[in-house]
Amino acid sequence: MSLVVSNLSVSHGAISALRGIDFSVEVGQLAAVIGANGAGKTTLLRTLSGLKDAISGNATWKDREILGKRPDELVRRGISHVSEGKSVIPELSVKENLILGGIWRGKKSDTAEAINEVVELFPRLGERMSQSANTLSGGERQMLAIGRALVSRPKLLLLDEPSLGLAPIVIEQIFQTIDQLRHRLGLTVLLVEQNAMSALEIADIGVIINLGEVVATGPANELINDPALRAAYLGY
């Protein structure tokens, strides 16, 4: 009952992006995927969420294959992906962006309830429901993006660098919310981050990728204390 990725390879045309990726995450765990820019972290998420096709290998969620499926099929199986760089639709209002996540379930009452939960989680959104999304700040957009994913009532949440371009205190708040969410909803989270230290602090396990290959994986606290890894990848 978990996310198992085995021998996954992906390429952009002729250039290979990921080679032989293996790792697994138990249900309810938070895995931090760490690596330098261009290591292939985003490609990994886009492949797992169906936006990108893999060349070989497979990935299963709750023992069912997820590669080669369209994103809207995976959402129906509880996998929501908050893509890179504030994935909100600026032309729509905050409320409409949230409703979007619930349309596929078809029950308006259920979506309204999910939206209330999100507003509790992110009160700032509550104040600006009818405003157009492009009036939001960077942090608020990230909250809205995560909010929309939550409205889809996911079991597995793929988060692509939520901290990108945010002020430190906002990052702190986002990470606290993710951690709080995980425990409250029993969510499994795959968190892609460059902000290695703060990610590993809230993670159960860590996966370190470099130049398209997994160089290390294991419990987060071991990885933090391993001097060799810390020097090579964590920068101090």
Partner: protein, 298 residues
């Protein structure tokens, strides 16, 4: 003064038919980034279906209903079978820009030939739902007829239905989201390919209504909607191609403008007037009157 009022009223009724065609073009443009030149062919085909039903049943509205359904089915069919195959194959080299334009033109020619071969090219005239006799006040008859007023009302009703659909329903939200950013919509669980087909279907239905309304004024032939396509395109460009409200406003502006030319300047200058309006808009305000800062170099 009375002539000015007449011109305004007739301008509104002609403009409202252009609005349907420009709306259909914008609907498809926003969802597929393609200007569907075959829209005239689809509208003409569904008008022929509507014509058959209306003549047999002697009820214009039944014909209109069938035209809408036929238009919607054809629109969905064109997207599902034609456009998907097209995008699967023509996705590289200079063809990427050229292919959709030429393909939709080829489809326009194909539908026209099929209609020509089945229905023949003779003129078909449709019994209009309302009389074309101008309203008479005392002994003055103005050229604005009940049919004109009926046209404006029908178009207004359709615009309201579409506005409600887009603003108030989940389907409308899904349509807008898939048009603005298909990837995020997909990640939110929307089946964007199916939504796009629904968008084409709505455009096809709206095109069918435009065809039926135009045919109640003039004869129906496999070529009779070409001019409507051109004026619909001009109206959509004036509106900026990005917003549906813009498409409607652009159409009304064009309709009134051309009627002014028709009544005050000269009948055969109508087309040159329309064409120069198009060139003017493209040169001065290429993003149309509803521009929201997005520069059109795409």
């Amino acid at each position: 003064m009375q002539k000015a009022l007449e011109t305004l009223l007739i301008g509104l009724s002609t403009g409202s038919i252009y609005a349907l065609m420009s709306l259909a073009l914008v609907l498809v443009w926003r969802s597929t980034r393609v200007i569907n030149f075959a829209q005239a062919g689809q509208a003409m085909f569904s008008t022929y279906i509507g014509f058959e039903i209306a003549t047999r049943s002697q009820i214009f509205w039944l014909g209109l209903l069938f035209a809408i359904v036929a238009g919607a089915l054809l629109g969905a069919g064109v997207d599902y079978f034609f456009m998907r195959v097209l995008f699967k194959h023509a996705n590289s080299g200079p063809a990427l820009v050229v292919a959709p334009v030429i393909a939709t033109l080829g489809l326009l020619g194909l539908i026209r030939s099929i209609v020509g071969l089945t229905w023949g090219g003779e003129f078909k005239s449709l019994t209009a739902p309302a009389s074309k006799n101008g309203f008479t006040f005392g002994e003055v008859t103005i050229p604005f007829s009940p049919l004109d007023s009926l046209t404006i009302i029908t178009v207004a009703v359709i615009l309201i239905i579409l506005a409600l659909l887009f603003q108030r329903t989940n389907l409308g939200l899904a349509l807008r989201a898939s048009a603005y950013s298909p990837e995020i919509a997909q990640l939110a669980g929307i089946r964007t390919a199916r939504t796009r087909t629904i968008g084409w279907a709505i455009a096809g239905g709206v095109g069918g209504v435009a065809g039926m309304l135009v045919t109640s004024y003039n004869f129906l032939t496999p070529y009779s909607l070409d001019l409507l396509l051109v004026f619909g395109f001009i109206a959509a460009v004036i509106g900026g191609l990005e917003s549906m409200v813009g498409a409607v406003i652009g159409a009304l502006v064009l309709g009134i403008g051309l009627t002014i030319i028709l009544n005050y300047v000269g009948t055969s200058l109508v087309f040159i007037g329309g064409f120069s309006v198009l060139l003017l808009v493209l040169l001065i305000k290429p993003d149309g009157i509803m521009a929201r800062g997005k520069v059109r170099r795409g």
